[in-house]
Symmetry: D2
Subunit: 397 residues, 4 copies
């Protein structure tokens, strides 16, 4: 079976993750596997465990699991909570719902606020609910920073302030799977207790690594957690990591890639990385507006830098459209998930990306809209082009 | 930081896993990541999920986790058992002990038989214990097929017969992490209920994938398991896998490698693969005997095809010796773990390996024995050479 | 020194060669070097020497040099001619001029016809000149099929007919460096005696291999050639190649890539490859026309499928514009060479390429035109988009 | 067609080149091709053209051809000589003979001294011949530093002194194809006028690049050379190189590899590189002596650090033996060439190599000697092992 036997030219992988893995990372991962108990891996691990903290904007430990992001969700819950504990979650979309479903499966009680998939979490509502919780039954507040299914960003700093304002001791657990390394995110400054992340989005790696950045408070909470756990257990991981070791076999070659990914993000500079994503997101929305299509996110302040979800005109199936894009233009777009299945499609504009890749992507969307006979105005590509041109480095001065 | 900055020439990674990843697999994994929800990955997944069964010698489903082998241990336990259930385990060595420790952490009761790290599990003792368990309190028997810490192989077919002979309904859970793809192992023929495996040994992949091959009886047991679980839950995995999909993001690029690994093993033929490993193991033992050193495994019938653990002469530290081998000869050997730490070292002779790689390895051991002033007779390399020569294809007829 | 340290995202290498090397080829070339005198390389060479003929549309031998295209020019001359021989060449542009300059250096007399860099070779003029050459002083006619410096294609079949019509015995030597594998080219059907080609254009390989496809007549001529030669000598090469060997060390890893390249072209089908290039060329010209810019090639029938050369408006420097494109949009465009230096730029649209890569490229050009304040109408990108959409597979029926 | 489909484990490529290409170099070459007329390649070229001089131990320019070593021989001749010029060559073996054959083909007269393939060039004989050449008819002296077909090293410094002592103006041209980067070689200190080298030996690259390091005297001679030349012409190459450019397309990806190769050699240190090769050569000869076989080189002072040629006992065919080694042990050994065909085999111990790779290699030779029933004493491997052990870093002090 031939891998990547796509027709001529590069595939445009513009789903909101996994993202395009840059050659620097593919080549780093392609090195021979080494002894994870030997001095060479130890030196690598120490360096990576240090530099990955900068990406989370934290001075606290970041735990790296040889697992997907779903695993890191589970790790966040089972280390800090006990069976029957109540968590307050905000339904931003499909992934928030999956996280809730996971809590249910694990025997953790959960309460869902929100439910409008077009809007971010409302800190005021959270504060209100926490204030009502006089006896502190709620043990944690769980928020998805950038909801991958909708392209809506919640204000984590504001949620932190809401909790503080309610003088509530609940932990703050945040999913940054599709925001880390793409949208400004500050584990320490925002007082997050557990940050959940994955490798295959802003970190530009293939799937297979996931993360828990932990606060001192979260570590303290883990001491009294009664959830059965082994693989996800922070305790042995933190103890071993302190010296650059792991309690069980790490995913060596993905670690090589993580090393390279951190280097790349820090070489470019996190601020530059965030600005790049924001600019591409704005160009994308410019195109969507010019097409006369609707952006799923209804709150301008909550627009995502990682992806844009677009509502299909009534009577048109988003998945039929996506198939046209894939078959005609070798372009993968993100599908609508669960209750927006077939109703929206998503453009990922995150990770290792640039202006011309975006122009190719938007051109593919506009052409596929035409071929699929989706009602739209032409000119989206032109509008994005004008925006990118006028905001290019060379347009200054 | 420069990866693989070893001195000139190839590193000899002769720990009992991770093993040397062949170029075919490294190059397969080095392809761009694709959409795991698209048709191309779907076709790949269907093929791989089919061919991996042949490696386990089963017609039953094989679940692939984006996680290390430790995770697959946990998956085997949490899917088939409930809190407070009793499992019967056999202490073959360090990894059997870790598996037991994991059961304890997960709230599963465990009873340890054995404890002589130089011998395999004793089917008669298992049968006796099961017969005593009139009311079937024991829910599962857990055995490590090839104990990676000692190089001792237990007879899984005999354990199966012991369970049957005791007319006991316990499930049979087997760890094949360092035997799959190296030592003959038959999930179906031996009536195993859950086979646990990892990617980084006989499958010749980097770490990061792990496996549960499941029997119908195991799947039936999972319906009544009450352990909280989400990431490891077979149910959604089996349902999604049936159509070549995954409930959460699979480790795409490791999947590329798994595809290649299955092809390689099946092209060579499993019987040829097992015979190759057995021959290299015998050559290694020939060298050890000639050196006048002691093989940890005291039962000839239980010698491992994957690795050989060697007892250091009294008063000599195995880790100091290993350091000499690494620093002088760019050779990584396996360390002694927990109660045999410093007392033994292990030679991995599994995975993508051949006669000259073995001769280089044994030469490194003999030279390091000399440099480290470990008492031994010279001539081990010569003895292995004679054995390999006399059993080479060209020696026939 | 960090290779490929371009800013985020993929570089757009849209010069008319070297072209973007697809991952299949990079990964093939990345395999360990093997013994070029051993059976494995022999089998590979036999296969490649067979399949590369299909790409040249010939049943005659194709010689592969471990050298650049310039070397293959020299090989064509020194094998078929002798010092003082006269060749008739057509000045299509910079590369035709370089070939003439080479003939001069080698002591071969050359006569240049043409000289309008915007037009192809004129078969009628060639016929006329050959008819005048009663005593057959002219030993060869040298034509560049697709002039890389201008994007003008000469009609080789017509040149052949012109020679035949003049009943002149001159050999026909053709440079297909930027047409092979991109524009329909028929070594046998068009009666070409020596076809010169290189690896880094339509063959999608890095530079480092070059080719002479030879006719029986050319081989016969080589018997009486008196030019001193060794490395380029066909005789030993043809003799060794007949059994899959080489008289001196071939470029092993580029050979791996050539094997993959031939497979890719033949899997897609040469007709499909040519149609793909023609369509992208037409889309490019559509954009250029919409921008109100001038295409260098003044003869519509001679438009190139590989590249489009565009004339800068008076008073604007093409190289300054190219610098803007590179620095702002990570886009490499081809420069004007010798007498059109600074006056034109070239867009390469050949090799491993597709619709969205072209749209990215044209977007980069349009944006850079804007930033560089080159007078142009906007809308070129939109025009190309409309063309590509309306000619996409899904637009049929 | 599957590349590198050797049986399990790594192939042992122990011919005297191409050598094993290390992963660092394969991965460097696997990067996307870039514009060789753009600023990124220019910076790379400047760096590489500077650092490659250190490998030749020269401050003079080193020209890099996108061609094999045979091409660099031709370049050395055609740039410095004219048709009918006389060169004095020393017949050290097959490759010296090929170089002479090339001179003949190019119309350069050559006189061959020596002819004993077991001995190096004799400086006294050269001096005598030059002294006889009163009217300086001899324009150049051509010597192969390390004769790849025999493993005999000639003393280039002594040849230089011989020329000087004869007060003869002849140029000194030296082939270092299998010595550069393996055996101490000093272009400047030894007053060499043209050093010829290739990529696929001590430089650890695949074949495809070759070199001319040139002295000021050689450049001066090139001004009056009348050989027709274009591709090989130094003049344009030197002019373009001075600014980091090339007159025609360089082999971009091999250049990436050359960059890495120079870094690796200079990181290890040339003296350490030479000492490593010398030690492995001595270990190999220790084994050969223990086997009771004869080393082709009959002069101890001329033993090669790169390879050892071994004489087969009377009545035994070296190629039949080599076939046994390849088929049974996946080991490629060098064949005997022309007049020693079938009579010798060669072990390459150069390039990216280490102790355990050598022990694997020697084990393969000893086993194959046994299988092929070649009369020999066992114990060669053991003897080499003892030597390597006693000279390992850890044996000191």
């Amino acid at each position: 079976m031939r891998l990547n036997s796509h027709p001529s030219g590069r595939h445009f992988l513009q789903i909101p993750g996994p993202t395009n893995v840059p050659d620097r990372i593919l080549r780093a991962m392609d090195h021979p596997t080494i002894d994870h108990r030997g001095p060479e891996f130890n030196a690598l691990a120490k360096k990576v465990l240090r530099s990955v903290r900068q990406v989370f904007q934290t001075k606290q430990p970041v735990i790296v699991y040889p697992a997907s992001g779903t695993g890191a969700w589970e790790a966040a819950l089972v280390n800090t909570l006990s069976s029957g504990d109540l968590v307050l979650m905000w339904e931003t979309g499909h992934f928030a719902s999956l996280w809730k479903k996971m809590a249910d499966k694990l025997g953790i009680k959960s309460e869902f606020l929100g439910g409008d998939w077009r809007k971010p979490a409302d800190p005021a509502a959270i504060e209100k609910r926490l204030k009502e919780d006089k006896d502190h039954t709620i043990k944690a507040v769980c928020i998805v920073h950038n909801e991958t299914s909708t392209g809506v960003v919640s204000d984590i700093g504001a949620v932190r302030r809401a909790i503080d304002s309610a003088r509530h001791p609940a932990l703050l657990l945040v999913d940054t799977i599709s925001s880390l390394g793409s949208i400004d995110y500050r584990h320490d400054a925002w007082g997050v207790d557990v940050t959940v992340a994955g490798s295959q989005k802003g970190l530009m790696l293939p799937p297979g690594l996931s993360f828990n950045a932990v606060s001192e408070k979260a570590v303290a909470a883990s001491k009294s957690s009664k959830m059965p756990k082994a693989f996800w257990n922070w305790e042995e991981m933190l103890a071993a990591n302190a010296n650059g070791w792991f309690p069980y076999t790490p995913a060596t070659n993905l670690f090589y890639g993580l090393n390279e990914a951190c280097d790349m993000l820090l070489e470019e500079g996190l601020d530059a990385v965030f600005a790049r994503h924001a600019r591409h997101a704005e160009a994308t929305r410019t195109a969507v507006n010019a097409w006369g299509l609707e952006i799923l996110c209804s709150d301008e302040k909550a627009y995502s830098g990682s992806l844009t979800a677009i509502v299909m005109p009534e009577g048109h199936d988003a998945d039929a459209f996506r198939k046209v894009a894939l078959e005609n233009f070798n372009l993968s777009l993100g599908q609508g998930l669960s209750k927006v299945a077939g109703k929206i499609f998503r453009i990922g504009h995150l990770g290792d990306f640039n202006d011309l890749m975006l122009m190719g992507t938007l051109s593919g969307v506009e052409m596929a809209l035409g071929l699929a006979k989706v009602p739209h105005k032409t000119g989206g590509v032109q509008a994005a082009l004008t925006y990118l041109r006028d905001t290019a480095p060379g347009a200054r001065g």
